[in-house]
Amino acid sequence: MPDTTATTTTTTTTATPDTPEAPAKPETLAITLNGREVTAQPGELIIEAAERHGVFIPRFCYHPRMKPVGMCRMCLVEVSSPRGPSLQPACFVSVADGQEIETESPAARKAQEGVLEFLLVNHPLDCPVCDKGGECPLQDQAMSHGPGESRFIEEKRHWAKPIVLGPLTLLDRERCIQCARCTRFAEEIAGEPLIDFFSRGDAIEVATFPEKPFDSYFAGNTIQICPVGALTSVPYRFKSRPWDLEQVESTCTFCAVGCRVAVQSSAGKVVRFLGIDSGPVNQSWLCDRGRYGFEAVNARERLGQPLCRKDGELVPVSWNEALADVGRGIREAVSSQGPASVGIIGGARLPNEGQYAWSKLARAVIGTDNVDAQLGDGLPAELVVSLPQATIDEACHSKYVVVLAGDLREELPILHLRLRTAAAHHGLLVVDCSPVPTALAEVAAAVVPAKPGESAASVPDLVGSGGPLEGVDGSDVVVVLGRPSVSESADSVAAAAAAFVRALPGVRFLPALRRANVRGALDMGLAPGMLPGRVTLEAGRSWYESQWGSMPASAGLDTRAMLEAAAAGTMRVLVLLGADPLCDFPDRDLATRALERIPFLVAIGTLPTASAQLADVVLPAAGPTERGGTTTNIEGRVTHLAQKVVPPGVARQDWVIASEIAEQLGLDLGFDHLEGIWEEIEEVVPSHFGATVEAVYGPAGADGVVLPVSGVGLSLLPPGADPRRRLDPVATPGIDSVITQGAPMFAGFAEVPSGQVAESVAIEEAWAGVEPPALSADSVRTSGSSAPRPAPATFDPDRWPVPGAPVPDSYGFRLVARRFLYDQGALVQASPSLGKLAPRQRLHLRRKELQQLGIEDGGKVRVRSARGELIVPVELDESVPGGVAVLGFNLEPVDEPGLASIIDADEVAQTVRIETVED
């Protein structure tokens, strides 16, 4: 990506080998900026060069992550030319050698004041009732660069307000200053040009096409980048004033991309998430699920009190009673049927520290290896941790990206955004070989749908003669590997990965798993047969015996096997760590039988999910924004999570709950504070050597640390440097409201004194002459143990054989169970704004098959598998390949029969028949 990061310089380029500076350093140009001789890069815009040298040029339409348009004219500056100085838009003109630029000359000043006076002609100045008032670039720049008063005394324009642009986006048209940031974002970045300017002159307005609302998953970004209060969100409108907000920089944990966010709260409640410009990850963008998902944290139904089942009813009890119950249950199970009768499902949404605590509790205290953070809907842990990995930046900068995953726009929206931008504007060649073309197909160089269940078989077509990857060097290829369909077995995807490694030596992978910290869970060993640090149970046994004491005898069961054992009556205790198998496990029948049969069910989580309703003990846990710690994204990048608010009731942190349960079982996990757990992780977990507390927890880790820490070393901030990053590239330095715009890394972080601006420039200057400490695995303190550190698992293609092809059924359709961003999952449904956006279940078929079946678009059909049947309406969808039928996963309320009731988890690919229904 041509990172225009000049303004938002990422202060810590953490071991990302291909930062934009990588190419040979171009020669620099000498320019004169306000009489000062400074240097600039060729091709750099004046506004960027000036900003790097500490000169702020006022602007509205310019955004460092979008192409300049020069629309608002606010950035007019005086630029020397052969014909004398002339006024030029600084956001649109590149620097030239010897150029003289005056940003504050009387002429420039007059032009800027004139533009601002014009912009304010039709602006209502309703700041006292406007959500943006107090953090408004127009307000700020009217004060700093405006004329002070207006000569306009005529009637201003009036519009109906607000109008609804999209489900969560409102527009007050009279406030709009026509900077086109929103329309450009929709077209250029999101690729969904559903809004545009209509009409002309003073009648101009931003609007949608009639009946085609702005229902983009990325619509919230337009609200964040609107430099006035024209765009507002339904969840935040009139909720708070900027000066009432407290904030902290953290990581979004609603999917596994790990976008950096500012969590803002008012009166002890989270009210807003804003995207922070983290160069290697989200580049300031957020999806709406991440942006508004915090509503689930504030949900009324949040668990705040431990519950125990008494006389068939779940009743509130004290922690002591609930923990004693759990301890008794586990002790009885272990003493009667051995530790393997205890299983732990879930944990993918916990911070790393909580996952490590649970992994240690399971292995060293209980003695079971029955732990699985994935609910049969992910990829094998050993595959994910052993594949050669690529970062998001590496994927965007590589020549080819192969997508063999579910629709990334639905599962990992910001990864979709990054890849889409790279493909649409920077020449990345995307090969979409998911069974049903994804949203990336629109910008893809090739779309080669793999047959569901036979992904590996499609690899020769891709690399063979005439294929899109014919003769391609493997090191130029990154495969985004996920689970394209939950009704297709993970073995088939694993076999495809093996085929890619064989066919394209040097190929790298980016796992597309969706649960928030699923990568952390796999790294922390919340998977059967895997121990923390990407090592297998066998490879790591002696090391962990030396560190933790004892180890389970053999590899345990995965979620499916645990549920089967529970249904068969051989499992005694199941602990659900935030997991909701009734809703999320692909085979609902099995999940129901298991949870009804299990003698002792413990549910630990934030919401009373359908599965928790069946539990014997329910323990309330702290949710996102209520707990500190770290999280690991799909790249293996560890970032810091900050706590902003307190959990409801007496809910506790996950690691505290694990420690308490261990204590009930008579052992001490040895944790007394959060950073202490990370210290132990850094010392004990092989893949985490070198990722010190300072690097990960401290301000230096703003953009995270990609594991394993390579010998390159981490670049850290100097002590005392302020890591705040501007939330808004329009933010005017020197104005009070902006100082609070950069979120501190920690709650309670010392306030920057008024008038002092958090600037990345200042940080770089502070670094001058200071050699960053080189951290490598070798310099890490070695633990006292004599056991050799285990080596991380390596990828062996032969380990992942091609599963047998599904039996052909000439009447059958291969089922693709795809995911949607908004579904009936507990987290989405607990959020009032998002819950209602979940689509209704539809069977997608292409026209030819609709006609063959004699079904009208919108008519109802019966979808039948060996397992069960489902009656759903059909929808015509020409993107669906022949012989394939597509249903959405988890779109039915949990108490109704759904897609999960017709999936048989044993099948390589689910085959269904489609029958017409008589009304």
Binding site: E192, P193, I195, F198, S199, R200, F209, E211, K212
Partner: protein, 232 residues
């Protein structure tokens, strides 16, 4: 009504092929759709969006910029009465006021019978004939109150049908002009080996893709002559 007719669709594809970028055909296609329905229907804008590879919102955004394109229904005849300086001095506001009174509507409105729409226009470049009035983009002038009444009567009676086509029709002769930047799909997959090297059909020929459906131009209807047409 609504969607582009089969014939217009074919014509639209030929227009798209004239440009190196599909979206460049946006405004010509808007005129084509407006000629079909008198204004740009939502369905037509959706069709145009598909043909140009843009979103319907972008089509409506572009169309709404231009006064000559209407995204709301208008009358069969759209009066554009110039009120710029030359016409204003010649009494344009009197004509406009009279027109509003005579038709019982305000500027920007359409009579209930769907016959007439009045618009106040900026300079129409007919200052030598102030007060200049356009009816469906055909020039009339100088027009006074009495002349306006006669114009309305003539239009209502159909006496000007030869001069003033229904709103939206720019020219009744369709000429395929310009060298296609890309051959239409039908030409590229032609099975006739001889056609491969030949210039694309209709490139410069004065014939419409489907000639019989197009009205033959008569001298009276020659667009160039229309400028001479006068009210009454």
């Amino acid at each position: 009504m609504g969607r582009l007719s089969a014939e217009n669709r074919q014509r639209a594809e030929a227009i798209v092929a004239v440009y190196p970028e599909r979206r460049s055909a946006l405004v010509p296609l808007c005129h084509l759709a407006q000629a079909q329905d008198g204004y740009l229907t939502e369905e037509a804008m959706e069709d145009i969006a598909k043909l140009c590879g843009v979103s319907p919102a972008e089509v409506r955004g572009t169309a709404s910029f231009y006064d000559m394109l209407h995204t709301e229904p208008v009358g069969r005849y759209v009066f554009a009465i110039c009120t710029n300086i030359a016409c204003m001095l010649a009494g344009a506001y009197d004509v406009l006021g009279h027109a509003e009174e005579r038709l019982g509507i305000h500027s920007g409105q359409t009579t209930p019978d769907g016959m007439f729409t009045i618009e106040e226009a900026e300079c129409l470049a007919g200052c030598d004939r102030a007060v200049c009035v356009q009816v469906n983009h055909r020039f009339f002038g100088p027009v006074d109150e009495e002349g306006f009444d006669r114009l309305v009567e003539d239009l209502s009676a159909g006496r000007l049908d030869g001069t003033v086509p229904p709103h939206g029709v720019l020219n009744r002769v369709h000429r395929a002009v310009g060298l296609p930047a890309r051959q239409p799909v039908s030409a590229t997959i032609s099975r006739n080996p001889q056609s491969a090297g030949a210039p694309p059909a209709g490139a410069l020929a004065e014939s419409a893709p489907s000639g019989d459906a197009v009205a033959k131009a008569t001298p009276e209807q020659n667009p160039r002559k229309e400028k001479e047409g006068e009210a009454g």
